[in-house]
């Protein structure tokens, strides 16, 4: 997609793709044939720039035909480099500007509680995104409202768009705990480990859950791993050939 659309953010998509596989294929109570079912679980990719991974996962899960992926970053297409509201079945909310997903997800979880609905809300954030104050406004809010239907999953690859994030974020799990969240850490590329941790939410009744997923930006393509270049550079023909070779083994 990034090659055909000449778009950046490959590293960001590879960083969260295993989380999305665990969510869409093991955790979320969703039925691709009923994408608007009121009781479906909601997933918001708050790090909207990673949406290539989400578009791919949704297509693979059967929300729309794989051919729709050709619309990515094309004139007149439905799939922008950051997803629009319900641009395709399975996209719950528009994201792209960071720090918006967790407040919206908290609102959705609160609506479920107020209306006695059983759906759960999962929000995938990036660690760089956690520089945004609105993330922490929502982090303060959700425990007060006892939103145990809300789970935040932070794709913690250690990079923002220009720098390492550790100095600002660490100790990261402790920050979320101090705000009142129930926290687990997991290897974000071990799909079965992610799925089993997510199967256990809420970790504590009455509290929202946070999962710090340790990830690698650009995971799966050796020359993209941990290299900020791939936050920006669209892959050329040769990059694509080499990457596909590595991924397909």
């Amino acid at each position: 997609m990034a090659h055909a659309g000449r778009t950046p953010h490959v590293g960001s998509a590879l960083s969260c793709v295993d989380l999305l596989v665990a969510l869409y294929f093991s955790v979320l109570r969703v039925d691709p044939s009923k994408p608007n079912d009121p009781d479906r679980d909601r997933l918001l990719l708050s790090k909207g720039h990673g949406c290539m991974a989400q578009y791919g996962a949704l297509a693979e899960r059967g929300f729309f035909p794989e051919s729709a992926l050709d619309e990515y970053a094309r004139d007149g297409g439905r799939l922008a480099e950051h997803p629009g509201p319900h641009c395709v079945p399975g996209i719950e909310a528009a994201t792209g500007s960071l720090g918006h997903g967790l407040p919206m997800g908290a609102g959705m979880a609160l609506a479920a509680k107020l209306r006695g609905a059983s759906y759960r809300v999962f929000v995938v954030l990036s660690d760089g995104e956690c520089y945004e104050g609105s993330v922490w406004e929502a982090a303060l809010f959700a425990p007060v409202q006892h939103l145990d239907g809300l789970t935040a999953i932070v794709d913690y690859n250690g990079w923002s768009a220009m720098s390492r994030t550790h100095l600002a974020m660490d100790p990261f799990a402790e920050k979320w705990r101090a705000f009142g969240w129930s926290v687990r850490e997991v290897d974000g590329h071990d799909v079965s480990a992610v799925a089993s941790v997510l199967a256990a939410v809420p970790f504590e009744p009455g509290r929202p859950s946070a999962i710090i997923a340790r990830t690698l930006k650009g995971k799966g393509v050796s020359f993209m791993e941990n290299d900020l270049e791939w936050h920006y550079r669209p892959p050329n023909d040769d990059d694509l050939r080499r990457a596909l070779l590595e991924i397909s083994g």
Binding site: A111, A112, E137
Partner: protein
């Protein structure tokens, strides 16, 4: 207007179980009755406007009809991107309530004045902008906003705003109300300065100038039919608002007027493009901007006499 807002909201909440109220820690005591009558449908989210708007959008996307309340500059500018992306982009049924339009919080200083909110809100796609002119309009505007099902910015005054309408009015989004009739000129008012517009009309009438007064409580979408009629039936259009002359009601009408080749002069009354440099009451700050009955009526009379151009 605050009390009228709460009355209107309670009425709307009785009719529609989806209606609820969020506040970012403002409105001490005024929501106690509402909270008591509608348990679970009143929420103080804390001093966090961005989160309030994001949460409101999430609530609306999942079937609720939240009102999000704060002092106007905080409810609009602090969380502008949340309003744009989370509410307007999603066409979420959220009503953002800005209390204290214009100089209502006069002595609190320019941090609390709201002179740009109409301009900013009306630039957002999918946003409807309501600035009711008196408590009677406010009460009905709340019901209209709750039923609208799309993003609304509702700008109200504070406390002690005079009642203009005797009895009830038929409040419809996008339909201006004629408060005084006249054929010499039209004074189009929006928001909490309506009483001043009416007094101005009354004073002009004593000088044999029949000034029609419209309460253009909906700045977006404008009631173009009413404006067209005023432009054709009266000699000049004047606009008045407790808002910057940049981007507010006057601007909106000037844009409409220019694009539609509307005949006749158009003059704008509103706040100067500056922060208040001294403290003072709402009345004092209005006066610094020429927004008094005396100054506005003199100015209208002079302009109609051809002595001064707009």
């Amino acid at each position: 207007m605050r009390a009228a807002f709460v009355r209107g909201l309670s009425a709307a909440a009785r009719q529609d179980p989806r209606v609820m109220l969020l506040t970012s820690d403002l409105g001490f005591k005024i929501f106690d009755e509402f909270a008591g009558e509608f348990p679970g449908r009143f929420l103080n989210v804390g001093v966090a406007e961005s989160n309030m708007i994001g949460v409101a959008a999430g609530l609306a996307l999942d079937g609720m009809r939240p009102f999000a309340y704060s002092i106007a500059p905080f409810a609009t500018l602090r969380c502008l991107e949340q309003i744009r992306n989370d509410v307007c982009y999603h066409q979420a049924a959220v009503t953002i309530v800005g209390v204290g339009g214009g100089y209502s919080y006069g002595p609190n200083g320019p941090t609390h004045h709201s002179l740009e909110d109409i301009a900013v809100m009306r630039a957002l796609p999918n946003m409807t902008v309501l600035c009711p002119g008196d408590p009677v309009e406010v009460e009905q505007a709340v019901g209209a906003a709750a039923a609208h099902g799309l993003p609304v910015y509702l700008r109200i005054g504070r406390a002690g705003d005079p009642v203009v309408h005797r009895g009830s009015v038929r409040f419809e989004i996008g339909r201006a109300l004629t408060v005084r009739d006249g054929r010499d000129c039209t004074l189009v008012s929006t928001g909490n300065i309506l009483p001043l517009a009416v007094e101005t009309s009354d004073r002009l009438r004593a000088n044999s100038i029949a000034c029609r007064v419209l309460s253009m409580h909906t700045v977006k979408p404008l009631d173009e039919a009413a404006l067209r009629a005023c432009a054709e039936e009266t000699r000049a259009l004047f606009t008045i608002e407790e808002h910057s002359r940049i981007g507010g009601l006057g601007s909106a009408i000037a844009e409409w007027s220019a694009m539609n080749r509307v005949p006749g002069p158009l003059c704008l009354f509103g706040a100067e493009d500056r922060f208040a440099s001294t403290t003072g009451s709402q009345a004092y700050l209005r006066g610094l901007n020429g927004l008094t009955v005396e100054r506005v009526s003199e100015s209208i009379a002079a302009k109609l006499a051809g002595a001064v151009s707009c």
